[in-house]
């Protein structure tokens, strides 16, 4: 069944692609098999993360970007993965990013897939990465990954994109907010969207100043492309692109204003990464993070499978009564059924 789907997908059948994406997202047996088959043909796509606060115009910007990327030489195919939050109460989600993307729909070279953030613990990045592997193998040259920036998720995105675009808008509270949120560290490109609103120039100046002051400690102050020999740092930290001074641009996404300049910077960034060796370093960081997330998920699920709800509740009750500390409870739960499981699991 999977082979048949993959075969059809390889021939450009979009329903097959859609089904493969669903299987992969559900982490089903056919989905896992598909990824095993597809993985060798991945590694070609340029993954671009777009993040920013709610209402900053990310979806509209992504829509405009996708259309403009399609106009590049060779008319590359563009995939969009639009992530919206899952309700922690019902497990359901409303995925509304397509509302702002409806005019990209006439073009069969643009594929939009909405994804709910669902569970916890590295799940977002593992599933996003899995979906982008499918798109990558299916010949999508650009994969735009859109997430709302509200804490951790934008950092997750920076971990799986080659280029991270942070979208800001004029008048978003005080300047300290953006320092606090760490957006300057994750951005490869900063965009002040809705630039026809009052305060756009101040926002732009502020962001530029922050960057040029060296707030981004790894960025040298000499301008673009000066330290092409430098290789981006690796490790479990997010890989910043060293020697790249993030440009700050103004856009009005609804009118596609500033989009050509943004495309230019995206391509420049890719070129810079390739020339400097940063691309390989990013790839290594992305894959390392992916493997770590998969291990974390597997450990968590194995533990969940070992510990019945009663086992957890028992510990909660003990801790509630102050008979035991949460730390001791965690230690006990980690050891719960460990022996029984290992001896009976075969």
């Amino acid at each position: 069944m999977v082979l048949d789907l993959l075969d059809k997908m390889g021939k450009g059948n979009r329903l097959a692609l859609s089904r493969v994406l669903s299987e992969v997202e559900a982490d089903s047996a056919p989905g896992r098999e598909a990824l095993e088959k597809l993985f060798p043909s991945t590694g070609k796509a340029h993954k671009i993360g777009i993040t920013g606060p709610p209402g900053s115009g990310k979806s509209t910007l992504v829509n405009a970007l996708a259309k403009a990327l399609r106009q590049l030489p060779g008319n590359p195919k563009v995939a969009i993965i639009a992530v919206d939050p899952t309700s922690p109460f019902s497990g359901g989600a409303i995925l509304g990013d397509r509302i702002r993307m409806s005019d990209a729909i006439g073009d069969t070279g643009i594929y939009i897939r909405s994804m709910a953030s669902r569970g916890a613990l590295g799940g977002i990045s593992a599933r996003t990465e899995a979906l982008s592997e499918v798109f990558d193998a299916a010949g999508y040259a650009f994969i735009l990954i859109e997430t709302v920036g509200a804490g951790q998720s934008e950092v997750e995105i920076a971990r799986l994109a080659h280029t991270t675009i942070v979208v800001d808008i004029p008048g978003l509270g005080d300047d300290i907010q953006s320092i606090k949120a760490g957006i300057l560290e994750i951005a490869d490109i900063l965009v002040v969207n809705k630039a026809d609103r009052p305060g756009a120039q101040q926002s732009l100046n502020f962001l530029r100043n922050m960057i040029e002051m060296g707030f981004r400690t790894t960025a040298p102050r000499f301008g673009h492309h000066k330290l092409a020999g430098m290789v981006a740092s690796e490790g479990t930290q997010i890989t910043q692109t060293q020697g790249w001074l993030p440009p700050v641009l103004m856009t009005i996404a609804t009118k596609a204003d500033g989009i050509p300049q943004l495309i230019e910077e995206i391509l420049k960034h890719a070129e810079y990464l390739r020339e400097s060796g940063g691309w390989r370093a990013k790839e290594a960081a992305i894959l390392r993070h992916n493997i770590e997330s998969l291990v974390a998920i597997a450990l968590w699920e194995a533990w969940k499978g070992r510990v019945p709800d009663e086992g957890l509740e028992e510990q909660v009750a003990l801790v509630m009564n102050r008979q035991q500390s949460p730390r001791e409870a965690a230690r006990q739960l980690l050891a719960y059924n460990l022996n029984i499981k290992t001896s009976s699991s075969e």
Binding site: S18, T86, G92, L95, G106
Partner: protein, 134 residues
């Protein structure tokens, strides 16, 4: 363990701008644990079929209050079938005269809901239908 999430596309074809019903249903389905892709107003049959294809939905919910259901709904169902999505469960809500209902059901709509529908019933109908699909 991975569980199958029910994915629903909620779309408003045609030109009326009354999307309160669609939003109420979208919200109710979300609260019932489903993933709802909401496309917004003024969608053409092509756009709806394309969104259903890209999102691999199990269910398409259409909301029409303009009276254009007899023109739009069959087109949407036909396009879904052309794309190979003939098993998708299609339901319709809005102001649909009783006299039009039999022919809509005939053409592939599974349920037609009018004003005053209990959203719990909509959720239940979807659950049952998707369970049967599997």
């Amino acid at each position: 363990m991975p569980e199958k999430k029910i994915r629903v596309l909620i779309a408003k074809p045609g030109l009326d701008g009354h999307d309160r019903g669609a939003k109420v249903v979208a919200r109710a389905l979300r609260d019932a644990g489903m993933e709802v892709i909401y496309t917004g107003l003024r969608q053409t049959p092509d756009m709806i079929a394309e969104a259903a294809l890209q999102e691999d939905v199990d269910v398409v919910g259409l909301s029409i209050l303009s009276g254009a259901h007899n023109a739009l709904v069959p087109q949407i169902i036909q396009k879904l079938r052309q794309n190979g999505q003939d098993r998708v469960y299609v339901f319709l809500g809005g102001i649909i005269p009783q006299g039009d209902v039999p022919s809509l059901l005939d053409q592939g709509v599974s349920k037609v809901y009018g004003p005053g529908t209990n959203t719990q019933d909509v959720c239940e109908d979807i659950r049952k239908a998707v369970l049967q699909q599997a």
